[in-house]
């Protein structure tokens, strides 16, 4: 990411290319942005995301996460700050781009201490959980594929064959209509199989939709945690070779 002083023209992408760069509202933030961003926009992006994460925190305190009220208020907040939240909406390029870049900007600031890291990861996870919960069922498979997670939904026949076993294995299932079930290598479902909370067959865990979310969140937390650790390491290295770093100082003043 390059930072330039003064006004700088943003890269303009043609319609199709725009959609290709952000195929989903939801993302794991695996690739850092590679655009040019003006300092002013940089500042605005950071401030907006900070506002968003603070709202996530406050809403999580005032309401029970996952309830209708919580969901509605959070959606309203996302809309107000012009971040993306829902698939299928038109003209989502700007909000998705904003989401992407602002996340990475805040990483720079929030990698700096254990407390900051913990706070940042918690809010980002709550945000991801919310966005995943409103993802339409048919879009889940696409999102998982693009995130390079080896999750494969099993066919209805396979599901019926194993229904009894799957229901008997999962504490989160109450015997009602069985939703989608995903087949993943057992080692990817460590937290589930160690407590015998999932059905295992021939090296695969048959994970119902409810439990896939937990796995995805864990995966996200692990990746983000690692990325933040790398960021702080890079900072220490930069610090060693240069005496002054512009952005973190500007940042800290923004935060206070």
């Amino acid at each position: 990411m390059e930072f330039t002083g003064g006004r700088q023209r943003r890269l303009r992408l043609a319609g199709d290319q725009k959609n290709a760069s952000y195929p989903h509202c939801l993302q794991f933030y695996l690739q850092p942005p590679s655009e040019n961003v003006s300092l002013i926009e940089f500042e605005n992006l950071a401030i907006d995301r900070l506002k968003l994460l603070k709202s996530v925190e406050n809403l999580g305190v005032s309401y029970v996460k996952g309830t209708e009220e919580y969901q509605n208020k959070l959606e309203a907040e996302l809309r107000k700050l012009k971040f993306c939240y829902r698939e299928n909406l038109e003209d989502e390029y700007e909000p998705r781009r904003k989401d992407h870049i602002s996340h990475f900007i805040l990483r720079l600031a929030y990698c700096q201490s254990e407390d900051l890291r913990r706070w940042f990861i918690q809010q980002e996870m709550d945000l991801l959980r919310f966005r995943f919960s409103i993802l339409p069922k048919d879009k889940i498979q696409d999102f998982l594929k693009d995130s390079h997670l080896q999750f494969e939904a099993i066919s209805d026949e396979e599901k019926t064959l194993r229904e009894r076993e799957i229901v008997a294995s999962s504490p989160s299932l109450t015997g009602v209509q069985l939703e989608s079930v995903y087949k993943i290598p057992f080692a990817d479902a460590l937290d589930l199989f160690r407590g015998r909370k999932v059905y295992l067959e021939n090296g695969f865990a048959y994970v119902p939709l409810k439990d896939i979310v937990a796995i995805i969140l864990n995966e996200f937390r692990a990746k983000l945690s690692k990325a933040l650790a790398v960021s702080i390491l890079l900072f220490s290295l930069i610090d060693m070779f240069t005496h002054s770093i512009i952005y973190p100082c500007q940042f800290c003043s923004l935060l206070l």
């Binding site: 008997a168 294995s169 460590l190 160690r194 407590g195 015998r196 059905y199 295992l200 067959e201 090296g203």
Partner: protein
């Protein structure tokens, strides 16, 4: 069977390591087809020598190197450790922190002493035909889960030489598993929890996981003969009080009465089941159900694993075909097709097979007088002259399966790369 005298070990081992130890098959196993460079050379072995001298970080260049060293050191016990990043025998020359354990088979150790609280016939190092069924059930239960739930294909079960069994899971993917996943696997396979001070060690949930259900079904096949007849777990007040401690107090009096009137463990067990059933139907209380019966069966029969053996990638475990220094028995592979017929008493001791070899050699000398056969040829046929032969055959079958799998994988890979 020839009585085993531990003082004869040094001489017996000399003969064993020179003429009987199956080096070729052993190397074939640990070399894993030579697919990964230096896999064998980076493997750690440890030797326990006479007078309890223990040396770690042994490693060898090839089969011949292994043979020479083993014959030179004459170890009382051989342990197998992990495959490291460098040759273990050069680990001191490696930069600090760079010498790391990288891969190892996943291993399980099931020891009879862990069942002392529930077996009435023996304790500590003793075993007999009455309690060996615990190992039989353990092998069936664990092996089924490793194969059907986890999809592990190459499982070698070995008699530990005295009071238990070991399992070596050798699939390529398994050798690479992290410590965390290994721990998770042991956790999945564990049901009996708590030490000496915990009376009730098994608690089942409302929902019975398929692993638990299938394990109970295996135990059911053996329970009557093992627990009610051989172990006689409801024989007298002292023994049945232990079982009463596992069921709700409200039925204790009722059970004491019906137990007094009964004449056998079988009868008392029937009473127990009926009483539980009755209370399940009468009271709206959730305390009663068939799971009470299952919890007792599991506490008395379900396998008890040592997590520390299984979770560490660098953990050292006694090698197959090692000799148990106290009993003299060879640590032989167990035929999975004949688990129920396996009897540790019939496992040959080192003195027995050395004796067999001597007897054979004298006969042979009488028959073929002037034949000059190479030493190696002699050795490769020697174990066949003894009771070790069938066990080496089981090992060879295991190696065949490994080879087949490996060929299959290589074919798949070359197909993908379109190598013809």
């Amino acid at each position: 069977m020839e009585a085993f005298d531990p003082t004869e070990l040094p001489e017996l081992l000399k003969l064993y390591y020179r003429r009987l130890f199956p080096y070729a098959q052993y190397y074939r196993w640990l070399n894993y087809g030579g697919v990964v460079k230096n896999y064998f050379q980076h493997r750690e072995f440890s030797f326990t020598l006479k007078d309890d001298i223990y040396i770690r970080y042994q490693s060898f260049n090839n089969q011949s190197d292994l043979e020479k060293e083993v014959q030179k050191m004459n170890p009382y016990k051989i342990d197998i450790g992990a495959v490291y990043s460098h040759r273990p025998n050069q680990h001191n020359a490696v930069k600090l922190g760079a010498f790391q354990a990288q891969e190892k088979e996943m291993v399980f150790d099931i020891d009879m002493t862990d069942y002392d609280d529930v077996r009435r016939c023996c304790s500590s190092a003793d075993i007999c035909s009455k309690c060996w069924t615990l190992m039989t059930m353990a092998i069936h239960i664990i092996d089924r889960a490793l194969k059907e739930d986890f999809g592990f294909k190459h499982r070698l079960w070995v008699y530990s030489g005295r009071r238990g069994v070991h399992c070596w899971v050798c699939d390529e993917s398994v050798r690479k598993l992290s410590s965390a996943v290994r721990s998770g696997i042991v956790e999945y396979l564990s049901l009996v929890k708590g030490g000496q001070d915990v009376k009730k060690k098994v608690h089942l949930n409302e929902k019975i996981h398929p692993f638990v259900r299938k394990s109970i079904n295996i135990i059911k096949k053996y329970f009557e003969e093992y627990a009610l007849v051989n172990q006689d777990i409801l024989e007298n007040k002292e023994s049945w009080d232990k079982i009463l401690a596992l069921v709700p107090e409200t039925i204790h009096d009722e059970l004491q009465q019906s137990f007094q009137k009964s004449h056998s463990s079988l009868q008392r067990w029937e009473h127990l089941k009926k009483t539980i059933s009755k209370h399940q139907n009468n009271t709206k209380n959730d305390k009663y159900g068939p799971w009470l019966e299952w919890e007792i069966m599991l506490q008395y029969c379900f396998p008890r694993l040592d997590v520390n053996v299984s979770k560490g990638i660098n953990h050292l475990l006694k090698s197959p075909f090692s000799v148990h220094p106290k009993t003299g028995r060879i640590c032989v592979p167990i035929d999975l097709q004949k688990i129920d017929q396996f009897d540790p008493i019939t496992v040959p001791t080192i003195s027995f097979i050395c004796h067999e070899l001597d007897a054979f050699s004298t006969k042979e000398e009488e028959k073929e007088e002037n034949e000059a056969e190479s030493d190696i040829k002699h050795r490769t046929r020697d174990y066949k002259k003894t009771s070790l032969a069938p066990y080496v055959k089981v090992f060879e079958q295991f190696l065949e399966n490994l080879d087949k799998s490996r060929k299959g994988e290589l074919l798949k890979k070359s197909d993908l790369q379109k190598d013809f």
